[in-house]
Amino acid sequence: MSNSLIANARVTGLGFVDRLVRDYSALVVCLIGLFLVVFIVGMATAPNFLTIFNFKTIIRDAALVGIMAIGLTFVTLSGNFFLLSMKETAALCIICFATSMSSGYGFEISFLLTMGVAIIAGAAQGALIGLGGNPIVVTLGAAGLLFGLGSWWSDNLVVSFRRPHGAEWLGTGSFLGLPNITIAFILIAISAECVLRYTNFGRQVYLIGANRAAGKATGHENFSMAIKVCIIASICSAFVAIAFSAQVSSAHVNYFSSEFGSSGDMTIMVIATVMVGGNSIMGGFGSTLRTSLGAIFISTVDNMMVLHGFNSGPRVLAVGLMIVFSIIVFALVRRGSRAQE
């Protein structure tokens, strides 16, 4: 009795620090602080850092990983950890899109076909997860399956299509001086945030992530939710695949693997973005806005390191350190808030 009274008193009379800890805002403060530090260091040491062109580069670099990470944020928020099959879904989708484009179907049909493939892949994984399969193991298996399918379909070859094609506006076009892919990133970020904040579906995502038992008791099963969020994540993967394919007018299953990109494997980069942005991996807390900021943050650090001429080793190391740092801060903050209860 007295314990609960004390607890109530603490809840009503929260101090500033308590509130920081309780709302997990400490992490955001940390992130903003780090961002400022990186920014100032970048400004002071790299001469080309503070140019408009460089900012555009940073955001454009953040866009592809950012869009995928926004999709994954839904999965994470709903308490289903993360999907290890993000890059493999993208690999299958990029093959699907390029094959369709090269065999003469227009952009619209190819787009819809690719989205269809993504929805099927997402729904299948979501159904297995929703039935109670562990998300990590299910998507690990799905990753092998999807990647194998993509390789089998393309015969492990590069699929390319001729240059004047219907998708060029998405890949290389720009609007008001901003690349279209950047605009897409901003639009997706805003709409995802609106969906999470102002729709029933968004609130259900938070509810199921924060307390699955409560969600079940109020009639929100994880089964349908898992399917929905996995489809969202897959669609975002497919969109990134299409945008990337439109940029380079070709496709190969390894485009998103670590052998191709310099800064590591796409799936891990996406998970890193979600984590560094300050979303709770256990679900129920976070937002896509944070994910977008995380993407821009990682991209800024990467950009600064590139300007200083670092190789890929230190850059991958930096991202790894950022993830581990964010995990540790998050866990410590959570322990702090647990101790209050």
Partner: protein, 343 residues
């Protein structure tokens, strides 16, 4: 006969794994003349040397209710270190350094998982990236190579028909870990924190100790696996070996672990790994491209997970029905008495 039947009923997971292994072996033995030969058995054992270690490590992690995603990166780091330092320090010293580093990484991971009370997947996805960065650093972003090829020759020497020094070491490791898991208190603690963590903690198990032991063994196995791969091929890549995670997980799940933890064992891990190796070797014999192997492994993992999830749902329904019928049975006489009224 009845003894066999009892054994099968008691260890149905293991029986299923053995059946699957025999089926896969027989399929390839009948479809390909070259498969059931002494040389192929040697090749299978050579694969077993690496994948067995990873399967063993993942089996232990899953028994403890966690999963170590950083196993491929850890192995790649060990491979890079051993290949880089073999020329200057000698194979044995380089091997010891690499394995020591991997084990230390495992210990640190285990400590942080227990101390921060985070799920292992959360931390190990971070260390996956971190260790890859360290490996790139250690390899200076190149493919490192040995110059002296006496070591790879020694490691692949044929002994007793089917074995090489590497596979003998791995079999020895399996026996050691098996004894540790089954006959020591620490091993039982690992089962306890996987199967019923709250109860184990309430009973006085310190979460740190089993967690550190599990991840230390996992790091040791990953390091040893990486060392064997690195020394056997004489080259190492910082970004390589990422396929180990999928293959090892498939092996662990075929071997009968449950994602809920607390189930499975070392024998299962060995049989699961052998099944994956039969599949892998057999597919290579039938000239299947590498990506198809990945596809088959993915399908296999999905099927096993579907099977497990299905049986869990079935069990839950059964239990619910049991409870309802129990309640009905208890309420039956009560209702009857109420209807007839008090005597």
């Amino acid at each position: 006969m009845s003894r066999i039947k009892n054994w099968v009923v008691e260890n149905h997971d293991l029986a299923f794994a053995i059946l699957l292994a025999v089926c896969v072996y027989c399929y390839f033995a009948f479809t390909n003349d070259l498969f059931a030969t002494h040389r192929t058995t040697f090749a299978v054992m050579e694969r077993f040397a690496v994948l067995g270690l990873v399967g063993l490590a993942l089996t232990l992690c899953i028994i403890a209710g966690e999963i170590d995603l950083s196993i491929g990166s850890n192995a790649a780091l060990a491979a890079v270190i051993v290949v880089r330092f073999t020329d200057s320090l000698g194979a044995v010293t380089a091997l010891l350094i690499a394995v020591a580093i991997s084990t230390t990484i495992g210990i640190i991971q285990g400590y942080f998982i227990a101390y921060l009370r985070v799920r292992a997947i959360v931390l190990t996805v971070g260390t996956l990236m971190l260790l890859r960065g360290v490996a790139l650093f250690a390899a200076e972003e190149k493919t490192v190579m040995l110059t002296d090829f006496r070591v790879p020759d020694f490691i692949t020497t044929k002994m007793f028909g089917y074995f090489s020094p590497a596979s003998i070491l791995v079999i020895f490791m399996f026996i050691l870990v098996g004894i540790f898991m089954n006959y020591t208190r620490f091993g039982r603690e690992i089962y306890a924190i996987g199967g019923a963590r709250k109860e184990a903690l309430a009973a006085g198990v310190n979460l740190k100790r089993p967690m550190i032991i599990v991840f230390a063994i996992s790091g040791l196995c990953a390091g040893l696996g990486g060392v064997i791969i690195g020394l056997r091929s004489g080259t190492a890549q910082a970004l390589g070996l990422q396929y180990l995670l999928l293959a090892g997980t498939v092996a662990a799940f075929i071997g009968g672990v449950s994602i809920l933890g607390g189930k499975g064992g070392v024998i299962g891990a060995a049989i699961g790994t052998l099944t994956v190796n039969f599949l892998n070797t057999g597919l290579v014999f039938n000239v299947t491209p590498a990506f198809m192997v990945q596809l088959y492994l993915g399908v296999l993992l999905m099927v096993v997970i579907m099977f497990q999830t299905g049986s869990r749902i079935f069990d839950e329904n059964q239990r619910r029905r049991q409870i309802i019928s129990d309640v009905d049975a208890r309420r039956g006489p009560l209702l009857a008495r109420r209807q007839t009224g008090p005597p």
